[in-house]
Symmetry: C2
Subunit: 259 residues, 2 copies
DNA sequence: CGTACTATTGAGTAGTATCAAAGCGTGTGG
DNA sequence: CCACACGCTTTGATACTACTCAATAGTACG
């Protein structure tokens, strides 16, 4: 469990608000825009169409962030949450011994920064694992909007509640095999929910990142994956992954995921 | 790590809304009422005095719950969150192997049920570890109120954000000693924040509960406590505890608590 | 083609869990 | 009031999971 902060050299200021990477709110940007998912969810919570317009006025599309580039760092002043539009974001902290603890991986459609609301500063780092596009929501502004749009407020409450439960599950006491299976099945489901293949996908994170997330040693991650492959549960080549026996993996993961 | 659901025999319906245990909103009840803490926090967030009245209209004082009595159970329909006014509440789940996983202990002034907002049903059980009094807030009603009182909304956001961070810390990868020290220092600080002694207090939970919370075996909890005592960090007799060397305990807990 | 980094593999070990049994407190019934 | 029984806690001995250390292998990049 070594783990060192992957430092993407000199990044610009954290979570830039208006820089060259911000681009217009054009149709092309909206096509894969998770704001839509965000908006959809708010509509599902009862928000009306006019709210949609207000919400879209609020959002800023930022990116691309390149691999290794930080979106925000621990201690940066908190101003905004963001929905991932494309790519994968890793959030992590580094303890005083230099060990990295990965808090989570955030896929398209998922929201980062919710753990920063209590406090003026981000309590963790967020880094792009590949090319990342974001929808940025100023938190003061989206809060105000949430008082006017109950559907939006409800969606935010739900997102945060979900994160509490997810973190609690992740805190549970499980074997290396169970945690790895739960991690893979979790990825699979989240990708499937966004229209990606649930059985063939890329691990956008390094083995070390997986290890630091699952609180395992990198060597253990390697060994578990290899054993899973020997047992016919999956095929793994470098970062390319295919789940060849999802049912058995799910059975392993079931106690962790409670499903 | 055995852990079995402590079942307090036949409880009445979950989270009763109006029963014999509900009592009037009189001065005596309010004296130690965490609604006050809740209200204070909302005022600190900018809520005005009229909001205070609205909030107090909303709250229902329920209890007492006796030791072992359940406040809600996994699967019960979600209708309300609650602030602990007195006593200790344990939240936990039981996995399919019958192992109990303790999600948290909730002291006076703390709020339970926030992880249930996403979903129609409570995702966990809540049980009284001693005599517990609660302030119940109907969630639909407090949501509506939150759209009218930005200070209240802000407070709810903060509470939930804090829970996300807390759960993430708890999920970290630490030694038995570090986890135990962090647990004790955490208790101490939370008690101190409510005006109790930070150095002398009761462990209201069983060793098994502590073990299931810290994902340790009960035997390990015993051994660590005994070693801490041998090393002069604390004095423990049954459930009576005195921290005799808080600085050293804090040093142990520091990487976990990030303080 | 060489270098650097990440991933894999192997051997030995540390830290906790597990199993078994005894101790202690508390409550109960005689 | 005492004897007993039950539950929780403690203690000891042993086992096992996952870590650590060390070395090799494989990839990506210059």
């Amino acid at each position: 469990m070594s783990g060192r902060a992957a430092d993407g050299s000199g990044d610009p200021a954290a979570f830039p608000r208006n820089d060259s990477r911000t681009f217009a709110n054009d149709g092309d940007a909206l096509r894969f825009c998770s704001t839509c998912a965000f908006s959809q969810a708010c509509l599902a919570e009862g928000m009306d169409k006019s709210g949609l317009a207000d919400l879209h006025m609020l959002v800023e599309h930022i990116g691309p962030f390149r691999e290794g580039e930080h979106i925000f760092r621990e201690g940066d002043p908190f101003e905004a949450i963001a929905a991932v539009r494309a790519g994968t974001v890793k959030t992590y902290i580094v303890d005083r011994d230099g060990r990295e603890h990965v808090l989570g991986f955030h896929l398209p459609g998922e929201v980062i920064g919710l753990n920063a609301i209590d406090g003026d500063h981000y309590p963790c780092n967020a880094v792009a694992l590949d090319t990342v596009m974001l929808c940025r929501f100023s938190f003061p502004r989206i809060s105000v909007l949430a008082t006017q749009l109950p559907g939006l407020q409800r969606h935010l409450f739900r997102l945060m509640s979900r994160d509490i439960s997810r973190a609690a599950l992740h805190a549970g006491d499980w074997s290396a095999d169970q945690r790895m299976a739960a991690f893979l099945i979790g990825l699979s489901r989240r990708l499937a929910a966004r229209g990606f293949s649930p059985t063939r996908f890329q691990l956008t994170m390094a083995r070390t990142d997986i290890a630091n997330y699952l609180r395992l040693a990198p060597e253990t991650v390697s060994r578990v994956l290899r054993r899973f492959q020997r047992d016919g549960l999956l095929q793994v080549d470098r970062r390319e992954l295919e789940l060849t026996d999802p049912p058995r993996l799910q059975a392993l993961a079931a106690p962790v995921l409670r499903s």
